[in-house]
């Protein structure tokens, strides 16, 4: 695994929202086919890290490479076209579009995405509600939709922000299987999670972020041995 | 300087309050200011040796804006006469203020009858036309010439209503009949609905009682829908040379309407028009010529009275016969209305027009005392009965 090339490389990433400085130098490396999890307390800056990589914060500096390509000077939509799929924490389901329109909205970036049928197999709720207006879906359905939306596009680097939130345990379980399957297919995944157990089961490596900085970095295998430190950092 | 003359503040200041950016800017506006300046120029810039100054402002067709300006002019800026006042609301407000401050107001741009009727003031002059004279000249002889039944297309505004109501009285007086009317909200832009109704009424004449762009559109669309080709006579109740120019002779040729001025009337009107044209590249409208005339006569009256005192000037001006580029056989009555010859004109067909701005054929000249509202029927408090 360590031999595969870097899919995402972040060095000294700093970011601001207007006046407030929220990231103070993040360093992250993700190899192709890896699943990496960003952990941290509320407000630590995990979401901001994802947004900054995509150029969605008002200002950023440092270095970001995707598939080896420097993206600091690219606009968001071109970064996305390198194959990044972002499932935001606030879900951002479009109220003016129906469920299915939401699903079909993101343009296909690369071949190899899932078909509509595969997605509906995965999330039968969505199939049932496909004609509903996006925001009329239940909270959990919206969460599924946000996730499903980026599986269609063939994006091979997935940024998943709190996807297990608000979902029934069975669905969370199933999501875990989906992510396993995606890993098998060679997807690169960055998982931001509050649900430690969920993340720990899936991730190859963990980064712990606090106050806009990476404070700890450990492979999944060391989780057990580092319980104490994690407890300190995350309050588990 | 004439030592015996009583000129307040050592100068005569004329304020032209006009529509500079609004829908009637071409009928008055800059042109009215230029016309005022021509009159002053002809006077040599001085009256009785005292300088004459012209100031101007835009009333934006808002009575409050206009009235604030008039008050400031009269209270602070030593203006002796406010003129033009081209919207009835502005005119009525300005007249009242002028009366209160004992200055002169000369309305050249508004045509509401009440200005020199129930709302008349002793310090006001009403110069160019009113809806009564337009309605009378614009209907009476047409009825006599055979157009017995009429249909009105009227702006749903006071000036539209009076054009229609007065016209109706004259039409009926002359043995004609009004078959119906469409009172549309002003401003409108599409008149085809009303034209269809007018056509369906089968009236001999269709009177259009509106002004400005609306009038132009109504005429143009009348042509489009074959109003005239269908054998009906289109009569404008209030039209100006700007409208004819804008529509073009192709579409407006053959229109009948009442005018109070035409540049190509006689030598004096042509002379004024030439000067005006040089400065503006257009021929003057009746309102602009009237503004010239009013200024000229006001200055003459000062000269005659040897004073710019309001009472003296009013007395002088009412005692003078008025004949100039604009007014023929003119005379200011007790109610402040300047009565003068009015004309019934027909717009030339493109083939008849020999040169640029050669637009009208004058069909009939109606003397002032026949054209205007008779004093005997006046509701003006100044008229002794």
């Amino acid at each position: 695994m360590t031999s595969s090339p870097l899919a995402l490389e972040v060095k000294h990433l700093q970011a601001w929202y207007g006046e407030s400085h929220v990231l103070h130098g993040i360093d992250i490396e993700v190899r192709q086919g890896e699943c990496v999890s960003l952990l941290g307390r509320n407000g630590a800056g995990r979401t901001s890290t994802l947004r900054a990589i995509l150029g969605l914060t008002s200002q950023r500096s440092g270095e970001v490479r995707i598939h080896g390509r420097d993206v600091m000077s690219l606009p968001t939509h071109q970064i996305a076209r390198l194959g990044v799929g972002y499932c935001p924490e606030e879900r951002a389901i479009y109220a003016s579009l129906s469920c299915e329109e939401n699903l079909l909205l993101p343009p296909v970036l690369k071949p190899g995405g899932m078909s509509l049928d595969e997605i509906y197999d995965l999330f039968p709720n969505l199939k049932e509600r496909r004609k509903s207006q996006g925001t009329r879906l239940s909270g959990g359905e919206q969460q599924m939709l946000a996730m499903a939306r980026i599986l269609r596009t063939g994006a091979d680097i997935l940024f998943l922000d709190e996807i297990s939130e608000g979902l029934a345990p069975v669905i969370v379980e199933k999501l875990g299987q989906v992510i396993e399957a995606l890993k098998q297919r060679g997807y690169t995944i960055v998982l931001v999670e509050q649900n430690f157990e969920f993340a720990a089961d899936l991730a190859d490596r963990l980064y712990v972020i606090e106050h806009g900085e990476v404070v700890s970095h450990l492979p999944a295998a060391e989780i057990a041995s580092q319980q104490a430190a994690l407890k300190e950092l995350l309050g588990i | 300087q004439d030592a015996k003359a009583k000129i307040s503040d050592g100068m005569v200041k004329i304020g032209v309050l006009t529509d500079i950016n609004g829908p009637f800017m071409d009928n008055v506006g800059r042109g009215s200011i230029v016309a005022t300046e021509i009159a002053v120029e002809e006077f040599g810039g001085k009256v009785l040796g005292y300088p004459i100054q012209v100031v101007s402002a835009d009333h934006q067709n808002k009575a409050d804006v206009g009235s604030a300006r008039v008050r400031e002019w009269l209270d602070r800026d030593k203006v002796d006469a406010v003129t033009e006042l081209g919207s009835s609301a502005v005119a009525l407000a300005a007249m009242k203020i002028a009366q209160e401050k004992n200055r002169i107001s000369i309305v050249t741009g508004a045509g509401a009858v009440r200005i020199s009727n129930e709302d008349c003031t002793p310090t006001n002059l009403h110069w160019v036309y009113d809806t009564y004279s337009l309605a009378k000249v614009g209907t009476q002889s047409i009825v006599k010439n055979g157009a017995k039944s009429w249909y009105y297309l009227t702006a749903d505004y006071a000036f539209g209503h009076s054009l229609e109501n007065d016209g109706k009285a004259f039409i009926e007086g002359a043995g004609g009949k009004v078959l119906g009317s469409s009172r549309y909200p002003f401003p409108g832009n599409d008149f085809s609905s009303y034209i269809l109704k007018a056509q369906a009424s089968k009236a001999d004449a269709v009177a259009i009682a509106t002004a400005g762009l609306d009038l132009q559109n109504a005429i143009k669309q009348g042509k489009e829908f074959g109003l005239v080709e269908g054998g009906q006579q289109a009569v404008a109740m209030l039209m100006s040379i700007v409208d004819v120019h804008g529509i073009g002779l192709k579409d407006s040729g053959g229109m009948l309407f009442a005018e109070s001025f035409y540049w190509d009337l006689d030598e004096s009107s042509r002379a004024f028009a030439r000067k005006f044209f040089e400065k503006t590249k257009r021929m003057p409208t009746a309102l602009q010529a009237g503004q010239y005339s009013a200024t000229l006569q006001y200055l003459k009256a000062i000269e005659k009275a040897k004073s710019d005192d309001v009472a003296d000037v009013m007395k002088a001006i009412k005692s003078m016969p008025i004949n100039d580029a604009f007014a023929k056989n003119g005379k200011v009555r007790e109610d402040g209305k300047m009565v003068h010859d009015m004309y019934l004109v027909r717009v030339k067909k493109p083939a008849e027009s020999k040169s640029p701005w050669d637009y009208y054929t004058v069909l009939e000249t109606v003397p002032g005392d026949k054209a205007f509202h008779p004093l005997a029927e006046s509701k003006c408090s100044l008229v002794k009965k």
């Binding site: 307390r41 509320n42 407000g43 924490e89 709720n125 509600r129 509903s132 009329r136 879906l137 239940s138 909270g139 959990g140 359905e141 969460q143 599924m144 709190e162 939130e165 608000g166 979902l167 029934a168 345990p169 069975v170 669905i171 969370v172 379980e173 509050q194 430690f196 995350l234 309050g235 588990i236 | -």
Partner: protein, 263 residues
């Protein structure tokens, strides 16, 4: 339903729904759910996504008008009353997506609720210095949810988890008899989850809490009774032990994985 004589309500039932249901253009979001909540209980409503839990909350509080069925609060029918009236009767809810007043400070957010408790008629003639008398109580409540240090910050500026805490604080400030919480711990970190659990538990003493939650730790940890909804109808109800052993529930909702209770 109309003809059926109403059975006398058990004395300790504070909130009761009878055959409550709602359709959206032919889709039945909530079918005929009956539910009785005992005074002083923490009553959890769980169920798969789209089961109709939020809609059920909306029906209870009249934010959505029911297609059928009735709601009783403390024995009195409240079906068809306006949401504000229901709140005034002592049943207050929170929202699934956090709902705070972004342009007010955290303190002012809580004061809005405190002010309501004292009448709530529009008082536009007095200066808002009048509201300062609520500051002390507001700070007290904020301390409970560990937000006292952020009291003067604008609510837009605080992190998501804090917003949820603030929303809870505002709800508590009204001192309602019944409080309906829609996923109160969603988006919160572990520490905060435990804290909120403790808070809800302490708050529930003497009052009643109905909550929707997907976090099984919370459900297992503090709820006295659980009702499981699925596809708009009741699937099961009982204590956590009963419900979590129910095959249908495991199948539809909980899954086979073990959920550890924190205590």
């Amino acid at each position: 339903m109309a003809g059926v004589p109403r059975a006398p309500m058990q004395p300790d039932i504070i909130l009761e729904a009878r055959s409550l249901g709602r359709d959206f253009n032919g889709f039945t979001a909530v079918d005929k759910v009956s539910l009785a909540v005992r005074k002083g209980d923490i009553h959890a409503i769980i169920g798969p996504n789209g089961a109709g839990k939020t809609t059920f909350f909306n029906l209870l509080t009249s934010f959505i008008k029911p297609s059928r069925g009735q709601v009783f609060l403390d024995g009195a029918e409240i079906t068809g009353k306006s949401p504000a009236e229901i709140a005034n009767l002592g049943m207050v809810r929170s929202f699934q997506i956090s709902a705070v007043f972004g342009h007010l400070t955290v303190l002012q957010n809580v004061r809005i609720a405190l002010q309501k408790r004292d009448g709530g008629a529009p008082n536009f003639w007095s200066a808002n210095r009048l509201l300062e008398r609520y500051n002390e109580r507001a700070l007290e409540i904020l301390r409970l949810v560990r937000l006292d240090s952020a009291a003067d910050r604008l609510a837009v500026e605080i992190a998501y988890g804090q917003k949820r805490a603030l929303e809870l604080a505002t709800t508590i400030a009204l001192e309602p008899r019944v409080i309906l919480l829609d996923e109160p711990t969603q988006g919160m970190g572990h520490e905060d989850v435990e804290h909120i659990m403790a808070l809800v538990k302490s708050f529930a003493a003497g009052r009643t809490v109905v909550m929707v939650e997907h976090n099984m730790k919370v459900v297992a940890g503090i709820s006295d009774r659980i009702t499981v909804l699925a596809r708009g109808s009741e699937l099961a109800s009982g204590t956590y032990a009963e419900v979590s052993a129910n095959e249908a529930v495991i199948e539809a909702y909980m899954g086979r994985k073990k959920h550890r209770s924190p205590n």
